[in-house]
């Protein structure tokens, strides 16, 4: 039996991928022990015993890798962990920094290098696009709001103002852009980016790179229902040879190792643009397991040192539709997490809830 630690247990209307990853691991092998590493007492995944056998609270990424290492040392004294799959952009640099230490402690990883992580950042995406032969919408890096007054000389409205990590707003005027600039700056810090708007149909590819320029597996998806935040609430796996070819070009140009999400958009003239590369699984990654290409399980096996054959088949037409349910949480689970920061081996309390 293997034990895999998974982060990102937040599962609100803009969910982190952790619950989907854990569910996919349990689907592949129900005997897999999944350890949840949660940031908040009320992360919904904490109270899902069907998918998380143990839960440990961990410090927020802003506290840095030394604090994370200290907490992981305590956790590793309590449970064996064979591999860890981090699922949030913000925590990846700390896990990448701790990779050597994790390996010494017997914890396998399948992560991008720091260089690869930086290469796909929004700041460097245009360079990556050029290197990989992938068109990226024109982007201007803004370091001060005064640059917005001359922005129209480089990009025409409407345009998108984006944070370097998260956040994006379509702006139709200078006033819109100023408001969005300050909003994004306050939430996500500098620099702020301005990008040409491409109108069309989005295609997202959940993929795993082998770290040597190859693609271990990939499933393209089209969103069929969006939330008011523009997040996919329903989607369908599609056959999209061009999206897969673009994903292969990204892998080849970056030698990407580990999971990622390639965000593409096809404009009305049929040209497909690279919008973003997210350096971790998307929240919809459980659908890859349902479509016959269980990419979280593939990444977990790679992290545990297995030799992985590329898994390129999947079933187009596999759909997902999210659901919000009021999950019943046990007071003793809440108490254990609140007082000790951990919820260890609660399998004995699990009594047949539906997976």
């Amino acid at each position: 039996m293997s034990t895999v630690a998974v982060t990102g247990l937040n599962a609100t209307d803009n969910p982190a991928p952790g619950v989907a990853v854990a569910r996919a691991l349990k689907d592949a092998d129900p005997a897999t022990r999944v350890v949840g590493l949660a940031y908040d007492l009320l992360d919904p995944g904490n109270y899902a015993p069907a998918w998380f056998d143990d839960v440990f609270l961990v410090p927020y990424p802003s506290q840095g890798s030394d604090v994370l290492r200290s907490r992981l040392t305590e956790i590793l004294d309590a449970v064996r962990i064979d591999a860890v799959l981090p699922n949030l952009d913000s925590e990846l640099p700390a896990f990448v920094a701790l990779e050597g230490w994790l390996h010494e402690r017997g914890v396998g990883t399948f992560l991008p290098t720091r260089q690869q992580f930086d290469l796909r950042s929004k700041l460097h995406l245009a360079d990556l696009g050029e290197r990989a032969g992938l068109p990226v919408p024109e982007t201007v890096v803004l370091s001060e709001p005064a640059e917005l007054y001359t922005l129209h000389e480089k990009l025409s409205y409407p345009l998108v103002i984006k944070g370097v990590f998260y956040g994006a707003a379509v702006c139709h005027s200078l006033e819109d852009a100023l408001h969005a600039y300050h909003d994004v700056l306050a939430k996500w810090g500098a620099p702020v980016l301005a990008q040409r708007v491409i109108r069309g149909k989005e295609i997202d590819v959940c993929a795993v790179g082998d770290g040597a320029g190859g693609l271990l597996g990939a499933v393209p998806m089209r969103k069929t229902l969006l939330t008011d935040k523009g997040k996919g609430w329903a989607g369908v796996a599609v056959k999209d040879p061009e999206a897969l070819a673009m994903t292969e070009r990204f892998m080849d140009a970056s030698d990407w190792r580990g999971p990622c999400e390639v965000e593409l958009i096809r404009d009305e003239d049929g040209k497909t643009w690279l919008l973003e590369i997210n350096p971790r699984f998307p929240a919809w990654c459980y659908m890859t397991a349902a479509a016959g290409a269980n990419l979280p399980w593939l990444a977990a096996r790679a992290a545990m040192g297995d030799t992985i054959a590329p898994e390129r088949g999947f079933t187009p037409g596999t759909m997902f539709v999210r659901i919000s349910i009021d999950q019943i949480a046990r007071l003793d689970d809440y108490e254990a997490l609140a007082t000790t920061g951990s919820l260890v081996d609660r399998a004995h309390r699990f009594q047949g809830e539906d997976r």
Partner: protein, 95 residues
Amino acid sequence: MNLGTRLGDLAISDSGFVFDPYTGASFTVNATGLHLLRALKDGVIDRAGLLAGLDEAFDVDGADAGRDVDDFLGQLRRYELLPRDFELGASEVTP
């Protein structure tokens, strides 16, 4: 003329539910639409062949049936399920 992979790869159920695996789009067709889609997939891409099939299955013929076929092909072109320059031929060709 080749029909292209879009129409050839459509998943078509007996109920008339049609799924395009390239776009994720789905739509429904009535019995005559279903008959025409299947005929096109089977390689019947000449007007006489399509009309003869409709007549045999639904006992319809004449100018109305011809217009309906043209309308239906127009819709398929609009949804890019057929190449924009697709025209019915005079003889039967395998797609």
